[in-house]
Symmetry: D2
Subunit: 315 residues, 4 copies
């Protein structure tokens, strides 16, 4: 279920900060047309930590409805501790999500036995598969490979999504879960080819919202064992990923910069209507939007007329 | 409003993991009888990050009802980002809380301008005073003194609760907010006398659940300028704080150890019914409970009969 | 031996980057005249990590000669690992230092047993007392209180210098070493009164180079139990400590800023000849020097004529 | 000059803790016979931070003499700040090293401008090429890609050795230095094939002391574009790298564990005489040595007779 290219969806918003379901449907359609193998809603890229419970439900409902069984829908259940995560997970399950993605507890620090107890409680209470989400930059600690291996051998988890950027530990994870049927996904935009060379079963790149075709080409090359081709496609995507660093770091943090860039690019590509993000994330400026447009033009990702115009704009 | 000894309440639980309102009422009564100056519900010590929305509401309702206007009730509105915090804050306000306590956003990293935008949005939407809660161990970053000073001068916040343990920055905060009417509270159990010598307006010690009388004596000595007496009381409380380190750190984290110890001590003192905490926190063992009882006996905090029994138990 | 006010000496330099022994002698004389209880040469404030072995020897020789037995001379033996530290320590001992100050190993991470082995090897090889130097900002880890307590009980160390800024652990250290005869010193400039209220035996403030009289007044007030007076003197010194933050943090790091400020202030006060520091530290600008002069003028620490002139300078 | 497989040499020691030059010569011979492209003496793997100045000189002299111009010799000049680094660098240069390897300053924190000044001063004072050594685990900060790119474009450095394990930043480094002639080497034992796929010019693996033939096979496969073969060889080396984790982490740190394992393996392979390391590193136990032997036997790296014996030993 957890194989191939599974973009973590941006959550388009209206001017009032509500989920823009029409834009979200178009985004899903855009990705499905490109051929993605799954959709991940309410992940970090989906601003899950900024969305109210109601907005999360709207997003899951919309994506499940648009996917309509063509590909699996993974839903993030992101919150500080077990019962709160479980409330989100049950809601997503009831709305038709095919799997639930949960991090370790955060806000209060926990030991490995406490992480284990957390996932075991979640697994016992859910009917759909559980994906352990390793994102130390957000959670403040890394999921121990030993705990993940134990959970995998006991079939308490169905997959791991590794957004740590640490390929050494990813390799240890692959070795420790071999033969369990648990899939290992990487969340890295820029090391996707290398993760696949190591044996990753899937990739979950935020930039895949903007250029799903690129990640699908990369994935196909990797499946074919053509690592030089995969590397060259990755190199192109790394250049495109520069859209996430156009914003002034003194004003906005890396999350405002990255999510703002993805949404801005989706607006420029004609997929969604507005680039809004939710507080405390701050919007990008007009000049920053121009720079994103220039990167898209270079990558050949703008509609023709606009690409034309941009090509004439000095940036 | 934010002065004196304001314990961050433990949240007693039933065997089913629901809020034990009868025990919570007794805890409030115990603290009010001791003479505390305020009650802080749904703080980190109250396991706020483990409580569902329903449980949070029950806790706030119970404490507001029991306080009955005798002292101010502060309610934590702890969540990952602005709109989610606001939902909790509005609920607490509707339930009668006198002030709302909120951290910086967490899970996604934010810049100083984003922290500022977060608090400004909260302040604009609330009718009750807003307390900025600085707890870097949980949130992953420290509230910048410059941002707090600006918010204080604009009356966007009414107080700061500093649980960083960093007295140098606390001193800078006091200097930077002088004359604004903003109160500066320390969350430190063990440096309370020193924070008061620096000019803290109040103390918010988790251990104050267990020994409110000790913190009230400390506070009175400090108010009287008798720093040697305050120091000696503090020294006694530091010894009592050893109850938070009896648990095996290989099994449970410091939060399980501390909150479990507070609740166990409250059970042993006859204030609440059960020592339960919520997942992923793990319970203390019988041997650990014995060691807590021994510390309480040494501190003279056990009822006579039990103290008698404990004194005969080798520990 | 390790009690009272013991400034960590700046190391004045010539235009060629050599130790300016004449200025160093004048600095020692200035501090001895003020009444300090000891001198600490080749500490972090003395740029020990920038000094060649030859320069370190020159500095120790000069300070030992100038102290001439009036007060104890502590010499830093700062290097990455045991045998290298020992080489510096033996050199300092041979030059007449009364005690040697050493950190945990750095560059390679070490466990508590490895830290213990390090100090035991140093203690066994030296004739003068060993001071354990806890400076996690520079070394990357904190000295464990348990290891220090064990070393103290075995008389392997004579004192601990705590530059961690963490008063909670300092308190645990004081408790854990009580009765061993080991002295506990704080390296904090801004929390010196609080450390003394906790029971510190001495203070080692870099700012003591610039205003030794202030720290001596603070220490006398603390000895007399007049904590309000100590606090007020501390408050004055905190304001003076602002000289360490006048430099542009985008250009120079906090060490360039602080050590440059101390030396600049000593030049302005007429104690040493030049404000130079060694690479990679970068010099302060003229505008930054002006701001330091203004702070000194405010504090009444400039010679009269110069104070006069500065008072007329807009800053 | 900086291309291919360049092992960072272990420094064999006598029972007195002196450099065992006979063993070091044999180690060099073993590696040269295997076909390595360079030798790196006095790196972190060489315990440089534990070696006295005299020992460092002995090590450099021995390696230069044994290499006898067949391959380039890189010498680490590792110390806290610029002038101290320069003293080591000049000594190495005088002893015939072909290049000098230096980290950013450590012990005191530095800004990017201070790092730049450090390397510029070193480059200006040296005749041999300078290699910037990025090892954040030891130095406490990462070398900024912008600074390295600037130094590369100005020919102030000849190569970068990246031991950060961060392939994303390594990729940015490769992009930012393209066309400058500066070589980019990875210090990773376990991601060497991936670094080469990204474009690394060379690999500097500590495990290359133990199994140089494995890294040479990996490098040849990578040069031939056979990434599956490179990956399979890497997988074998990852399994062998398990020798670095046999030691009890409660007793010894990861450096004692890794360097002790390399030396123990070299003794077991008959290359050097003793497994000793220098304080504060602690020795491995007999049981740990047995486990290392078992790993070597599995990898087919023991002499026949011994392999035979080991195969019969339960481990």
């Amino acid at each position: 279920m957890f194989r191939g290219v599974i973009p973590p969806l941006c959550t388009p918003l209206t001017d009032d900060g509500e989920v823009d379901t029409a834009s979200l449907e178009r985004l899903c359609g855009f990705l499905l047309d490109a051929g993605v193998h799954g959709l991940f809603v309410c992940g970090s890229t989906g601003e899950v930590s900024q969305l109210t419970d109601q907005a999360r439900a709207t997003a899951v409902r919309t994506v499940v409805g648009t996917a309509a069984g063509q590909v699996p829908v993974l839903a993030g259940a992101i919150d500080t501790a077990t019962e709160r995560v479980l409330a989100h997970a049950r809601a997503a399950q009831a709305l038709g999500a095919d799997a639930v993605v949960a991090t370790a507890p955060f806000y209060v620090g926990v030991t490995a036995p406490e992480v284990r107890a957390h996932y075991r409680r979640l697994a016992a209470a859910l009917d759909v598969p559980l994906v352990a989400y390793d994102i130390p930059a957000n959670v403040g600690r890394k999921l121990p490979v030993e705990v993940l291996a134990e959970l995998a051998h006991d079939a308490a988890i169905g997959a791991v999504k590794d957004s740590s950027g640490d390929l050494e530990s990813f390799q240890r994870l692959l070795d420790a879960t071999r033969g369990t049927g648990v899939d290992c996904l990487t969340g890295s935009e820029n090391l996707a080819d290398l993760a696949l060379l190591r044996g990753a079963h899937g990739v979950v790149p935020g930039l895949g919202n903007v250029d799903p075709h690129g990640y699908l080409r990369l994935h196909r090359a990797a499946r074919a064992g053509d690592w030089a081709a995969a590397r060259d496609e990755q190199r192109r995507l790394v250049r495109l990923f520069a859209i996430t660093t156009v914003a002034d770091p003194a004003r906005v943090g890396p999350i405002s910069a990255a999510l703002g860039a993805f949404k801005t690019a989706l607006v420029l590509r004609g997929v969604i209507d507005r680039p809004h993000t939710l507080p405390p994330l701050l919007p990008l400026t007009g000049a920053e939007t121009e720079r994103i447009a220039a990167h898209l033009a270079t990558a050949g990702l703008l509609p023709d007329a606009r690409a034309q115009a941009e090509a004439e704009t000095p940036s």
